[in-house]
Point group: C2
Chain length 195, copies 2
Amino acid sequence: MSDPHEFILQHISRHIVLSEQDIQFFKSVLRHRKLRKRQYLLQAGDVSLYENFVVKGCLRAYTVDNDGTEHIVMFAVEGWWVSDLYSFLTGTPATQNIDALEDTEVFSIEKKDLEKLYQQVPEFNRMFRILLQNAFVAQQQRIIGSISQTAEEQYHSFITKYPTLEQRLPQNQVASYLGLTPETLSRIRKQQAKK
Amino acid sequence: MSDPHEFILQHISRHIVLSEQDIQFFKSVLRHRKLRKRQYLLQAGDVSLYENFVVKGCLRAYTVDNDGTEHIVMFAVEGWWVSDLYSFLTGTPATQNIDALEDTEVFSIEKKDLEKLYQQVPEFNRMFRILLQNAFVAQQQRIIGSISQTAEEQYHSFITKYPTLEQRLPQNQVASYLGLTPETLSRIRKQQAKK
DNA sequence: GGAATTACTTGATCTAGATCAATCTTCTTT
DNA sequence: AAAGAAGATTGATCTAGATCAAGTAATTCC
């Protein structure tokens, strides 16, 4: 499994079955890239030209508001796809930044190639349909949490849902994902330690 | 366009092209239903057995928290699809309620039929992939708004994004969608009227 | 068409979480 | 291994929006 192609093909085979020919074509559109920790994969203002699959490491997509505060849109670890989808679909400048929280390896697919892929191997429509359904459900839950739960409840949901992420991420990144300040999250953790 | 089948077929033809045979099969899996205002399409606790397309009227999907407060997950007007997707996919009891804010007509597709549809007319994978991409983008924006904007900013974003919905919905429903109390929304509107 | 729900408004008060500030700890990088 | 940067903690204070309460305006429905 040290071969990165092996890893992505495994992932895909969970949802669709590809012929040897399909696999060859798919591999041919993948561009393998390595990012150092803190390196950008996408900067707000540029157009998101690629859909990216994380092979190793961890990325974050985030926006920066008027007073310079970062707000995390999503994390992407091994097996996740990430881009600024709106920018990718429309060709308009990205509002999101994507950078590496750890040294990271990705496969990137260019938009034109992805379109070709959908045509030549329509099964990929099915795969992304399924992945997007799952993302849709997760996002709805995050929205409901965000509008109906206290900070403490949201944090608790987060660690139950993503126990490994919680281990792996700096606390301030989790705070930003939840829409809290690092101070508030620190206090919540202190509280919980008592129990 | 008074024929409801005409309406849904029009919508679908924006994304995919169907043969006469495909159309016949598609129509055969649609169940047309009418709901009175306030009538449930789905109650939390029941399994979401259908994916529903709104032909006429307006639905809301919402959860109810421990103190009985409702939180709106989404609205669905003409041309939108709605279900408790998690329940629909997994067969587990729904956490969401769906009911009618106006007298409403929908087409419902049973899960088994939808699966058959994906098999017999794989183009539907493509269509739902595209619709889900759009939903993904919209939900990301809602999440970012919710964790980074003030109540006033969120309300402003809402009316710019959904001007017709804003007209059509009771104010307290909009408040609930935004995660605000009706009192707060009322005060925001009063503020804005001054300007 | 009038009673009864349901929706909206306005005021007074409260509170969860933000902000500001200072210190401490843990990683990075050389 | 030491210096610097980034992350975490703790305390004091502030504030946006919630809650509680009471009244007014719209709808709904017999």
